[in-house]
């Protein structure tokens, strides 16, 4: 029989073709919220504010919650008369949970001549959109991107949330002092700047406090099965006292479930990326002994928080998450700066935002520091049988 290499070549070619095709597909979901307003000239009597966020894709609840928070804030501002009689209006562009799309979304907002830009949630998306705002001298306030590099883009980029080094240090302190953990394993998302940054800062803080990292493993956002890596973490010597999973809720929920299935019962820790009610859908309703740091707790007795939670419930019929609160805070803080600014030009508005001091936000009292990051407190939430509940508040050291 004569060997024939043709089928092999054909199949290898097909496999390569399929790869390219899969690559295209990953980036294809066109936004539901996007596009509609493109090309319209701004009305002179309204102040346009742009929001870019993941309205679809695997971080869809992030974008939707943030957008809800922003729209609630704008509604309240307009009901109270707007800015000297001028109404504010939000234009939302979808990033489809994709960094490349985030860049396009911000370009569209710039074309619409927005006064300021709010967004994004995922740090890698904010880092794609930020440089465009900086170049066009349009102030951008990220509601909830926690990677330090986001505001390092330039002097037009701000945020109302705390940053990863602070958040990771809070989680490390919680692990060391409240849980008394001496060893930790880290299981992070290698494809997300948020997750990698969190890992680095946790490692630094945890070892500084006398702890040891015994095992590190990574996954990617497209993974569905994490048992291979978890089995390796379980076999680490010495055994970890806790496992840090600094990813987003879709994967973190599944990871927590699969860890418990593999009889890994130590505390599992995370950051604000866990904060979505969908976490319980993926993890199941019988998870305990898992904790994450967050920006706010809805069961906080603070009057500002209470008022926001009630207004949100009345408008959307659901309990807000922290992202909604941060979206709300970003819009309210922007409006506060607009009131103080000499004009709504980029440089004037930028200076007004930079001068923000003790702004009474839902997510805490916010002061902009020299790095354009918010100085504020953090809370630890506990995953408890299908709900999140307040565990403890950690003040800024």
């Amino acid at each position: 029989m004569v060997m024939n290499r043709k089928p092999a070549l054909l199949l290898a070619g097909l496999a390569a073709l399929a790869l390219v095709w899969a690559g295209c597909k990953g980036a294809q979901n066109e936004g539901a919220g996007g596009g509609g307003a493109t090309g319209q000239t701004p009305d002179r009597d309204v102040i346009l504010i742009g929001h870019y966020g993941s309205m679809t894709g695997d971080q869809a609840t992030f974008g939707k919650s943030t957008d809800n928070g922003i729209r609630l804030a704008i509604e309240e501002i307009n009901a109270a008369g707007g800015l000297n009689g001028k109404k504010l209006e939000v234009r939302t562009e979808d990033t489809a949970s994709d960094a490349q799309k985030a860049e396009t979304a911000v370009k569209r907002l710039v074309d619409m001549k927005v006064t300021a830009v709010l967004g994004e949630v995922a740090s890698s998306h904010s880092m794609a959109g930020g440089p465009i705002c900086q170049r066009n001298q349009i102030p951008m306030i990220s509601p909830s991107s926690t990677n330090p590099k986001v505001t390092e883009i330039g002097d037009y980029i701000f945020r109302v949330c705390f940053i990863d080094p602070y958040q990771a240090a809070v989680v490390a302190r919680f692990a060391r002092s409240s849980l008394n953990a001496k060893t930790a394993a880290i299981f992070y998302d290698a494809g997300q700047a948020y997750s990698v940054g969190f890992r680095d800062e946790f490692k630094k803080a945890f070892t500084q406090m006398g702890g040891t990292i015994v095992q590190e493993a990574s996954y990617t956002s497209s993974d569905k099965d994490f048992k291979a890596q978890l089995t390796r973490i379980k076999a680490a010597t010495p055994a970890p006292d806790c496992i840090l999973v600094p990813g987003y809720y879709t994967q973190a929920g599944t990871i927590v479930k699969q860890a418990r299935d593999l009889d890994i019962n130590v505390p599992i820790l995370g950051g604000d990326g866990w904060d979505s009610q969908d976490f319980h859908t993926y993890a199941g309703a019988n998870i305990t002994n898992a904790y994450f740091s967050n920006h706010m707790a809805t069961d906080d007795p603070n009057p500002t928080v209470k008022k926001f939670v009630e207004a949100y419930k009345a408008k959307y019929g659901a309990t807000p998450d922290a992202l909604a609160a941060l979206g709300y805070d970003s819009a309210k803080l922007l409006f506060d700066a607009m009131k103080r600014a000499r004009s709504l030009n980029g440089p004037d508005l930028r200076d007004a935002i930079a001068a923000t001091k003790d702004f009474d936000g839902v997510s805490g009292k916010i002061t902009m520091n020299a790095q354009r990051n918010a100085d504020k407190s953090a809370v630890i939430l506990e995953v408890y049988n299908g709900t999140f509940r307040f565990k403890e508040r950690i003040e800024k050291p």
Partner: protein
């Protein structure tokens, strides 16, 4: 001892992943065997299976016992996906069957886009998850100091994969329908000259392959609570396709073997320092096998007819 425990646990993890790949790979391989073309929409049919399972278990069968949910859900998924497979063949592939391989390939990619985007429009883009309740805690098998953990849901997946594959082998080997499928696969023109209705055989092939993908859709998500979204068919379908090529495309036993090998490679690479390169390894294995056995592990090299 600990190393042995780790090895055996990864072996179990790998076989569990592999059994799902095997079920999907069988669909690729059957269609290739009969039509000599890759049905790239097959992974998306699997994705639809996961959604049909979600709607069946949490909607239609919400008040039934877990056993009824599982079995009736399986039948619903197999029937719905089988019907969709047949519909795809009728509407998209049959009209261009004589237009050459490239046209068929492009059409398949088009159908795949249609299904994944259609699912996004209909079912929302956010990932979903569900589980047929009552599966209970995983088995813990103790052999002295050795403890292995076996998830019941994944054990059922493995058993179902074995049963469905054996059923398929029985159909193809020992029934008249199977004989017809093999005849068409061997030489379509000659088979049609012998009085075999090749259109019916092709329809049947799509029916069987797609219903297996539907079964895999329900099993791999409804029994594990793993999350899924409308784009999952692309990534998983690609891996199952590699599995089919690896085992020898056109060969059913090869597809099962390829699927299991892919699952094992994923578990062992994923559980090592090389975990970020897990998917790259799939291609590395494919390339190295094709270098030495161009037709795949169990594939036969045939002389091209000129």
């Amino acid at each position: 001892m600990e190393a042995l425990q780790l090895f055996l646990q990864q072996l179990i993890n790998g076989i569990q992943i592999g059994s799902v790949y095997a079920l999907i790979a069988v669909g690729y391989t059957m269609v290739y065997g009969v039509l000599r073309f890759i049905n790239f929409a097959h992974g998306d049919v699997y994705m639809l299976g996961a959604y049909f399972g979600l709607f069946a278990v949490t909607g239609l069968l919400a008040n039934q016992t877990p056993l009824v949910q599982g079995l009736a859900g399986l039948l619903i998924c197999m029937a719905a996906c089988g019907a969709i497979g047949v519909l795809i063949e009728r509407a998209a592939y049959r009209p261009i069957r004589k237009s050459g391989r490239l046209a068929a390939l492009i059409t398949a990619i088009g159908v795949s886009f249609l299904l994944s985007n259609g699912a996004q429009a209909l079912f929302e883009a956010r990932p979903r998850a569900y589980i047929i309740s009552g599966i209970g805690d995983p088995f813990k098998l103790n052999f002295g100091a050795l403890q292995l953990i076996l998830d019941k849901g994944q054990l059922i997946i493995l058993l179902a994969a074995i049963v469905l594959t054996l059923l398929l082998v029985y159909i193809v080997r020992f029934t008249t329908v199977g004989k017809a499928i093999r005849a068409v696969s061997f030489d379509r023109e000659a088979a049609s000259l012998m009085g075999i209705n090749t259109d019916t055989v092709i329809t049947l092939t799509f029916l069987i392959g797609s219903s297996l993908a539907g079964a895999a859709g329900l099993l791999s998500y409804g029994l594990t609570r793993n999350n899924f979204d409308p784009l999952l068919g692309v990534a998983l379908g690609l891996k199952a396709f590699i599995a089919a090529v690896l085992g020898g495309i056109g060969n059913i036993a090869g597809a099962v073997l390829g699927g299991l090998l892919m699952g094992l490679a994923e578990a062992f690479v994923g559980g090592s320092e090389l975990s970020p390169f897990r998917d790259a390894f799939a291609f590395l294995i494919l390339i190295s096998v094709l270098m030495f056995r161009p037709a795949g592990i169990l594939g036969k090299n045939v002389v091209e007819k000129v």
